[in-house]
């Protein structure tokens, strides 16, 4: 039971990070009907930017807690801003010039952008692992002294990840459903030409969608760094593919679907490693992708297509 509870906590934490990245996939897919294959690397860039900022500001766990929190918020804001610029640039270079050309073209340039980002970070930051001393050590011990002596822990960094993710997802859902920017995005998603006939600047709305996805990926990047304490130029690939799997599982194009899918993939991966084998955890996640694509390509919360046209 204790072991199960621990896996659950770990799974929800991991799923939160996947969910944040998955939102970027799903929103971009929703609005331009294409997978942004560079999105995982945008997440990786966000993570590196956070690391660089933390080191540059000299942030360590020895800071007073209030100052530490303020410093991390500062890092987060700067990293979100800079990562957004990367997201915006990818859209301008790899997508916009090819809008209206055949479908495969932007897919290929996105893969190109992904490889370019990886290589850029590899060359400028080096190929080796970048460690970070834990900034938020410690946590709560939930159970102690059960029969087999297993201890369930909920670390402060896990609490931080779950709380930040929950707040962001609530905020984001409100943004999409209640604000005029969110309405404009949904309008462009459903009928781009009509949106422009209503005075919506479609290009700008698409750019903003990439920017918002990148900003969330930057948050995921910082959280990933704080949680695992080590990153390299290649983390974007695996995390990206898993977040993509999450988006497909939830129903690509659906915002709640991305959140649910992220959570599920995080849980599946964690429980698989916990009960079967760590070596095959990626296989488990990708098998899910294959199964979903074959048997329910709409995903769990995919768009209900019942309307007249």
């Amino acid at each position: 039971m204790e072991y199960f509870l621990q896996q659950l906590i770990n799974g929800v934490t991991l799923g939160s990070i996947y969910g944040l990245i998955a939102i970027g996939y799903t929103m971009v897919y929703g609005i331009i009907g294409m997978i942004n294959f560079a999105h995982g690397d945008i997440f990786m860039v966000g993570s590196f930017l956070s690391l660089i900022l933390i080191v540059a500001f000299g942030i360590t766990a020895s800071l007073p807690i209030g100052l530490l929190i303020l410093a991390l918020i500062g890092v987060l804001i700067i990293s979100m801003a800079l990562t957004s610029v990367w997201g915006w640039t990818v859209e301008r270079i790899a997508y916009r010039p090819l809008r209206g050309s055949f479908r495969l073209a932007p897919l290929i340039t996105a893969i190109g952008a992904s490889i370019a980002l990886q290589n850029f970070v590899q060359i400028s930051q080096g190929a080796r692992n970048k460690p970070l001393q834990p900034l938020i050590p410690g946590g709560f011990t939930l159970t102690e002294g059960s029969d087999d002596g297993f201890i369930v822990q909920l670390s402060y960094s896990q609490i931080l990840i779950i709380v930040v993710t929950t707040l962001l997802m609530i905020g984001f859902t409100l943004l999409i459903n209640k604000t005029s920017l969110g309405r404009a995005q949904r309008a462009c998603e459903q009928d781009r030409k009509m949106a422009s006939l209503l005075g919506i600047n479609v290009d700008r709305t698409i750019s903003l969608t990439f920017v918002m996805g990148a900003a969330l990926a930057a948050v995921a990047g910082l959280l990933f760094l704080l949680y695992y304490g080590v990153i390299d130029f290649y983390i974007g690939f695996l995390a990206g593919v898993k977040a993509f799997t999450a988006a497909v599982l939830g129903g690509i194009g659906s915002l709640p679907g991305a959140m649910l899918g992220g959570l599920l993939i995080g849980l599946i991966e964690t429980f698989w490693s916990g009960y079967f084998s760590v070596e095959y955890k990626d296989v488990a996640a990708f098998s899910i992708l294959a199964i979903v694509l074959i048997f329910m390509p709409e995903g769990l919360l995919g768009k209900p297509e019942v309307e007249k046209v």
């Binding site: 309405r183 309008a187 422009s196 006939l197």
Partner: protein, 243 residues
């Protein structure tokens, strides 16, 4: 009709789709306060003209002026912020938005300070929409969608309303309702209307003036009454329609 500058002035507009020519030098104008209709056979280029006025597709040559200002090369979203609104061919309701959200979209980028007043006005015109305000656009009936498309266009309080076949596929009673609404908006609110119609008889009766388009060119124009009386118009566009 006033002699001052027209609200909409289309001069020698040519539009291509790739290599295909759809408009071959169209000239027409709509004065402030008028209802003007454009009739013509399928594929004549009527919808293309409506869309070219809105900059999508862009004219290959020629000019479009709105209220004396040239708008030919502007991006669509900038044109549509100039007090022009279109209810386009095929209605193009946002299917996964509620009726209310569709309406709000109509006012989104307009400098319309009185969104509630506009809502009130379109609910007066189409009470059905008020009953259905929380229903998803995609699940409305065809006639309800048409009402919504017109209402959405009105939400920006435009000076010029472009309507592309508002009566398409609708029952006679609804058609009458929609044409009454257009007359009402024109007389009550002073709205200028440029209307494309297959339903030539009703359109010419409603409009102050009309144009006939054949194969991407204007071939006839005149007051609604004049065109209705012409034998060639009757033969081509009114066959069995005059009831």
């Amino acid at each position: 009709m006033s002699t001052s500058q027209p609200l909409l002035d289309v001069r020698d507009v040519v539009t291509h789709y790739g290599k295909i020519v759809a408009l071959r030098g169209v000239d027409l104008s709509v004065a402030s306060g008028e209802i003007v209709t454009l009739i013509g056979a399928n594929g004549a280029g009527k919808s293309t003209l409506m869309m070219t006025i809105c900059g999508s597709p862009k004219a290959t040559s020629g000019q479009v002026y709105f209220d004396g200002e040239e708008i030919t090369g502007l991006p669509t979203h900038e044109i549509m912020r100039k007090s022009i609104a279109q209810s386009p061919e095929g209605r193009r309701i946002f299917p996964r938005m509620s009726v209310m959200e569709n309406l709000i979209m109509g006012a989104e980028t307009a400098s319309n300070a009185d969104v509630d007043g506009s809502l009130q006005r379109v609910f007066d015109l189409f009470p059905r929409l008020k009953e259905r305000q929380n229903q998803r656009g995609g699940t409305l009936s065809g006639g309800e969608q048409q009402m919504l498309a017109i209402a959405r266009a009105l939400m920006s309080k435009p000076r010029l309303l472009l309507l592309d076949e508002p009566s398409l596929g609708l029952a006679p009673l609804i058609v009458k309702q929609i044409f009454d609404a257009i007359r009402d908006l024109n007389q009550g609110d002073g709205l200028t209307v440029f209307l494309v119609e297959q339903n030539a008889y009703h359109a010419l009766k409603l409009a102050h003036r009309g144009y006939v388009m054949v194969n991407g060119k204007i071939t006839m124009s005149g007051t609604g009454k004049e065109l209705l009386a012409r034998d060639d118009v009757k033969a081509a566009y009114l066959e069995g329609g005059a009831h």
